[in-house]
C-alpha cells in the first residue's frame, strides 16, 4: 500500500449464512465475493450496479456494520476488518455514512441540533467545540442561517434539506472517508444534481475519499474520477469515469450504458438492446464468469468454466472478462462493440 492510499480492500468477501431448521446450514448468500480495490486520498469513486448486486452489503462491510467473511480492509493504514474497541471507534469517527432514504436516516424524535451533536457526544468532543462544529457543517451543506434549522425536526425539512442534513451529520466528526449509499435515488430529479455537487464540493474542500454507490449511471459523471461496475458480488470493471462512459469494455457495462435513459424524442423509436434474463442468484452463482448466461459474447467451454481474472487491456482500465485475455487483442472486442 502506498502513502497516498486511503482505503485498500483486498479480496473482500461478505457472505450471509442461510439457516434451515435453526442450525443446519442451507448455504450462503455471497453478497460480496472477492472485491479488491484501492482508493487514494482525495479520490472519489463510484460503484455502479443493479439491485441485488451486493453494493449495499459492500458499503455496510466497509462501514463495519457487517463483519466480512474473508479478506482485508485498511483505512489510512489501519486494519478495518475485525476491529474492536478503540480501533473500531477510530474507524467510526473517520468513516462517514450517507444513506439512501434521508427521512429514514434521521431519527424523527430528534431536532437538528440533537442529530448533529449525537456523534460528537459519542466521540466525546468537548462541549465548547460542539456548537462550533455543528454550525460549521450546517454552513457547509448550506443549511443557513443555522439558527433557522437547529430547532427543526426532520419532518419539517424538504427531501433535499434532509439529505443535506444527513451529509452534515456524516461530516460532523471530520472523517477521512465517506460512504454514500445511493444518496440521491430517493430525491426528486431536480435536487439530485444539487446534492451530488454539494457532496463533490465537500469532498474537494476537505480532501475526503468518497465511495459513491449508485444504480444510476447517469449521475456518475457529476461525481467521481473513477467508476467501478459491480455485477453479482464482483467488481467486473474498473476505469476512470470518462473512459468507462466512452469505452466500456465489459459486455455488462456496455449494456448498462445502453440502458441509460435520455430525454430525447428520437429514443422512443429505438428499441434498446438489453441483455436477456435476470441477475443471477447469489446463493448459487453461475460457474465461471457470472455474466455468461446473459452475455452475447459467450464463449462455450471458457466463460462457463473458469472465472475471468482482471485484465488490463487499456492502461488504468481493468476488466474481468475473457474477451480481453492476452493474445486476443485488447482493442478487438471494443472496436466490435463500438461499431
Amino acid at each position: 500500500m502506498t502513502e497516498g492510499t486511503l482505503l485498500s480492500v483486498r479480496n473482500l468477501r461478505t457472505w450471509y449464512e442461510l439457516r434451515k431448521w435453526g442450525f443446519l446450514r442451507a448455504g450462503y448468500v455471497r453478497a460480496v465475493d472477492g472485491v479488491s480495490f484501492d482508493l487514494g486520498r482525495r479520490e472519489a469513486v463510484t460503484i455502479v450496479g443493479e439491485s441485488g448486486s451486493g453494493k449495499t452489503t459492500l458499503a455496510k462491510t466497509l462501514l463495519g456494520l457487517v463483519a466480512p467473511t474473508d479478506g482485508e480492509m485498511d483505512v489510512a493504514g489501519r486494519r478495518l476488518d475485525g476491529a474492536k474497541g478503540k480501533a473500531l471507534s477510530w474507524i467510526r469517527s473517520n468513516v462517514g455514512f450517507v444513506q439512501q432514504d434521508p427521512y429514514g436516516a434521521l431519527p424523527p424524535f430528534m431536532n437538528v441540533r440533537r442529530i448533529l451533536s449525537e456523534p460528537l457526544d459519542i466521540h466525546k468532543v468537548a462541549k465548547h467545540e460542539r456548537e462550533q462544529r455543528i454550525r460549521d457543517v450546517l454552513k457547509e451543506v448550506r443549511l443557513i442561517p443555522a439558527e433557522d434549522y437547529l430547532h427543526k425536526y426532520p419532518h419539517m425539512l424538504s427531501g433535499g434539506q434532509q439529505q443535506r442534513l444527513v451529509i452534515a451529520r456524516s461530516l460532523v466528526l471530520d472523517p477521512k472517508l465517506i460512504v454514500a449509499d445511493e444518496p440521491v435515488s430517493m430525491l426528486d430529479a431536480s435536487v439530485r444534481v444539487e446534492v451530488l455537487q454539494l457532496l463533490r464540493n465537500v469532498q474537494e474542500e476537505h480532501e475526503l475519499g468518497v465511495i459513491y454507490i449508485t444504480h444510476d449511471l447517469s449521475t456518475v459523471r457529476y461525481f467521481s474520477e473513477f467508476a467501478f461496475v459491480m455485477y453479482a458480488a464482483k467488481l467486473v470493471e474498473k476505469a476512470e469515469v470518462k473512459e468507462l462512459i466512452h469505452n466500456p469494455l465489459h459486455p455488462y457495462s456496455q449494456a448498462l450504458l445502453t440502458a441509460i435513459s435520455d430525454p430525447d424524442a428520437e429514443n422512443a423509436k429505438i428499441i434498446k438492446e438489453v441483455p436477456a434474463g435476470e441477475p443471477p442468484s447469489l446463493v448459487h452463482p453461475p460457474p465461471g464468469c457470472r455474466f455468461h448466461p446473459r452475455c452475447k459474447h459467450f464463449m462455450d467451454g471458457l466463460c462457463d468454466v473458469e472465472e475471468p481474472p482482471a485484465f488490463v487491456p487499456v492502461s488504468g482500465h481493468e476488466v474481468e472478462c475473457w474477451l480481453y485475455r492476452e493474445g486476443e487483442g485488447a482493442q478487438g472486442g471494443t472496436s466490435e462493440e463500438s461499431a
Partner: protein, 452 residues
C-alpha cells in the same frame, strides 16, 4: 419527546380527556390532602383503633349527609364533659371525704333515638383505693330515675347504660335503655314507633371521694350519623380509610404500572436489540409467566408468608414484568430496529445501550404512554380484589380493606349500604378517570385510531 408534548396539547380537543384529567387530578388532590393533612403514622394509629381512639364515635353510623334525605332530624353524637359543660358541686363531709355531684346536661332536639349512651368515669386518687358512685337520669319533665347505685370505680370505669340489664328491666316495654330513657313513656307505641321527648336532659353522678381525689365524668350520647363517610363496626371514621385509600391506591397503581409496564417496555427493547440468547431467555420467561396464574400464587404467598401491601406489589410486578405486553412491545421493536437511522447511529459509533435508550425506546414511547395510564387502574383494582378476598394489608387503610370489613360484617344485609358503596364508587371513579384519559391518549398517540 416532541410527539409526547404535541400529543398532550392535542388532548385538549377531547372532552373525555378533560374529564379524565379532572378525575385523576381530583384523586391526586385528595391524596395530597390526605398525606399532608394526616401523616402516615397518624393515619395508621387511627386505623388500628387502639383503646380510647374512637370512644366518641358511634358504631355503624351513617354519613351525616344522609340526614339531608330523611324527613326527621337524625341524632348526632353529643359529648358532655364534667370539666366543660358539666357542673361540679362538692362539699366536705364529717368523716374527711368529699361528697361530689357532677351534673352533665345535654339538649336533645333530634327526632331519632341515640344509638348508645355511655358514661366514662375517671378518678385521680391514691393507688388501690376505690370509689362508689351513683348515676341518676333526669328527663326534661324533671322525672328522675336512678340508673345505677354504688357502682365501683378504681381508676376509670366505662358504664354502658345501653347495656345495663337493670335499666332495661326498669323500663318495661322498651326495646332498649337508650330508647326508653328518651321516649315518651305515656304514649302508646304507634305504627311509627315511639317519639322522642325533646328537651334538656341531665345525668347526675354522685359519689363520695377522698378529700385529695378528683372525679371526672364524660357522657357520650351516640348519634345515628357521624362523619362525612360514616363509621364502621369498630367505630372508626371511614373517612380515614377513604382519604388515605386514595394515595395508597394511586401509589399501588402507579408503582405497579411503572414496575410492570415500563420495565416490560425497557426489557422488550433490550431483548429485541440484543437478540439471540437475551431475547430467547426473555421470550421463554414471558411464555412461562403468561401461563402462571397470578391470583393463586398471591393467595398462597398471602396465607403462608406475609400480606404486606408492598410485598404483594413486588410479587405482582415480578410476575407481570414478563407478561403478554412483552410480546406486543417486541413486535413493535422488531420493526423499529430496522430503521435506517439506527444503522446510521451504529455507523457513527453509538453503543448498544445508547441505541436502545436513545433511538429504540423513544420511537415506541408514544405507544407506551396510553398503555401506562390504562394499566394503572387495573393495579388499583387488583389491590382491592386482594383486600376483598382477605389478602389485604392488615395495617393499611385501603378501599379494599373497607369493602372487606363491610363484607365480613354483612353490611349490605344489615342495610349499611354506605359502607360498601363509598369505596366502590371511589374505585369506579378511579377506573373511569384513568380509562377516559388513557383512551383519549390512545386516540392521540395511536395513528390508527385517529379521526375514527
Amino acid at each position: 419527546m416532541r410527539t409526547v408534548v404535541r400529543g398532550l396539547q392535542e388532548l385538549r380537543r377531547y372532552p373525555s380527556a378533560i374529564l379524565g384529567l379532572l378525575l385523576v387530578g381530583l384523586l391526586v388532590g385528595v391524596s395530597l390532602y390526605a398525606v399532608i393533612g394526616m401523616p402516615y403514622s397518624e393515619a395508621i394509629h387511627l386505623w388500628r383503633a387502639g383503646v380510647g381512639v374512637w370512644d366518641e364515635y358511634p358504631r355503624n353510623a351513617r354519613p351525616v349527609w344522609t340526614d339531608l334525605f330523611t324527613r326527621e332530624r337524625l341524632p348526632r353524637t353529643i359529648v358532655v364533659r364534667s370539666g366543660e359543660d358539666g357542673r361540679v358541686a362538692s362539699e366536705p363531709t364529717e368523716d374527711g371525704t368529699r361528697s361530689v355531684e357532677i351534673v352533665l346536661p345535654f339538649d336533645f332536639q333530634y327526632d331519632g333515638f341515640p344509638r348508645e349512651i355511655t358514661l366514662f368515669v375517671d378518678t385521680q386518687m391514691t393507688e388501690g383505693e376505690e370509689v362508689r358512685y351513683t348515676v341518676v337520669w333526669r328527663t326534661p319533665g324533671e322525672q328522675e330515675m336512678t340508673l345505677t347505685r354504688n357502682r365501683r370505680v378504681r381508676r376509670s370505669d366505662v358504664y354502658r347504660i345501653s347495656q345495663d340489664g337493670t335499666v332495661r328491666m326498669a323500663l318495661p316495654g322498651m326495646p332498649a335503655p337508650e330508647v326508653g330513657l328518651l321516649a315518651d313513656l305515656e304514649q302508646r307505641p304507634g305504627p311509627e314507633g315511639r317519639t322522642v321527648v325533646k328537651g334538656s336532659y341531665e345525668v347526675l353522678v354522685r359519689a363520695e371521694i377522698p378529700a385529695d381525689a378528683e372525679l371526672t365524668a364524660r357522657l357520650v350520647v351516640y348519634g345515628q350519623i357521624a362523619g362525612l363517610a360514616g363509621t364502621d363496626h369498630r367505630r372508626r371514621d371511614l373517612m380515614v380509610a377513604l382519604l388515605w385509600g386514595a394515595p395508597l391506591a394511586l401509589a399501588f397503581g402507579f408503582l405497579g404500572a411503572v414496575g410492570a409496564n415500563v420495565s416490560t417496555f425497557v426489557l422488550a427493547g433490550i431483548g429485541t436489540w440484543y437478540g439471540g440468547k437475551t431475547d430467547s431467555v426473555f421470550q421463554r420467561l414471558t411464555e412461562l409467566f403468561m401461563v402462571l396464574p397470578l391470583l393463586p400464587v398471591l393467595i398462597m404467598v398471602g396465607h403462608f408468608f406475609s400480606r404486606s401491601l408492598w410485598l404483594m406489589l413486588g410479587l405482582i410486578i415480578v410476575m407481570s414484568v414478563f407478561s403478554g405486553a412483552m410480546k406486543t412491545y417486541r413486535a413493535m421493536f422488531l420493526q423499529a430496529r430496522e430503521a435506517p437511522y439506527i444503522e446510521a447511529a451504529q455507523a457513527y459509533g453509538a453503543g448498544n445501550m445508547r441505541i436502545v435508550f436513545r433511538y429504540l425506546l423513544p420511537r415506541i414511547a408514544p405507544v407506551l404512554l396510553p398503555q401506562f395510564v390504562l394499566v394503572i387502574p387495573t393495579f388499583v383494582f387488583l389491590e382491592a380484589t386482594l383486600a376483598v378476598i382477605g389478602l389485604g394489608d392488615p395495617v393499611l387503610p385501603t378501599w379494599g380493606k373497607v369493602m372487606n370489613d363491610a363484607l365480613g360484617q354483612g353490611a349490605l344485609y344489615k342495610g349499611y349500604y354506605y359502607w360498601m358503596v363509598q369505596p366502590a364508587v371511589l374505585l369506579m371513579v378511579t377506573g373511569f378517570g384513568f380509562a377516559l384519559l388513557g383512551y383519549s391518549l390512545d386516540r392521540v398517540f395511536n395513528p390508527r385510531l385517529r379521526g375514527v
